[in-house]
Assembly symmetry: C2
DNA sequence: ATACTGTTATTGTTTTGATATAACAGTTAA
DNA sequence: TTAACTGTTATATCAAAACAATAACAGTAT
């Protein structure tokens, strides 16, 4: 688990941390039950504030990726954790709903929308 | 074309204006070639800054909804305007791509994703 | 010339991101 | 119990970005 932050800016530090940890959880690099490096360890090694790290961990907890236990540490949740799954499914639906709204503005039909989705799914698949 | 702003919400004024004008264009309330009320008219009637209105108009122009001509006014583009259609299709694809990314994180299959889309499409249809 | 149009520069206010410091609270092992 | 670690919370400060207002600028038309 190698955390890095880039000062090229645009993306907040806590957001960069969140993304890297999410990716590590979803890829399996971080196993269920494994402890993340402590707030102060991350803060010290990356030369950032403890609060910034805490924000990343807190938001990851709200999204179901990890669970924090005061005095012990911050532990990775399994990919099949109910809260995590629920969160991701809800976000998927939100994205789809936005796509539907925009599609209706252009006058795309149901069939055309499914077609677009299919095309994008195949493009994604080529990247594997 | 009745513009209204609500100060209660966290939505920026220029964004509120954009949404209402977009809706009016897409619904046909504003016809192609029709002139929007001038910057200063809107600013005066809504008691807001000219700059705020200008921002709304400028962004609408970048998205292909209207076209501004210095010294003359701001005119509505047709719903079939190529730039507008391209913009909306691109946004639809972006939303779908985000949905795909999130769906893959939960492990949703292609079929399940299409299913979700179908369900949401039917819910939308009930609202007509 | 005037009276309208959109555009842009400057400025000020508010919000957001990040920080430092400190105190607080729970866990673990010497 | 004490010491050394964990996460949590409160306060204050700073910089940058987003939002908006004023005023000057520039084009169009009568």
């Amino acid at each position: 688990m190698n955390l890095v932050i880039s000062n090229v800016m645009g993306i907040p530090i806590y957001e960069q941390l969140k993304r890297q940890i999410k990716a590590a959880v979803l890829s399996g690099e971080l196993q269920e039950g494994e402890a993340l490096p402590s707030l102060r360890t991350v803060a010290r090694e990356l030369r950032i504030s403890v609060l910034t790290t805490a924000r990343a961990y807190t938001e990851l907890e709200q999204e179901g990726f990890v669970v924090s236990i005061q005095g012990k540490g911050c532990y990775v949740q399994g990919r099949n954790n109910a809260l995590l799954r629920e969160h991701l499914v809800r976000r998927t639906e939100e994205h789809l709903a936005e796509a539907i709204l925009t599609a209706r503005q252009v006058g795309l039909s149901k069939k055309e929308l499914h077609g677009l989705l299919e095309i994008l799914l195949q493009e994604e698949h080529q990247g594997d």
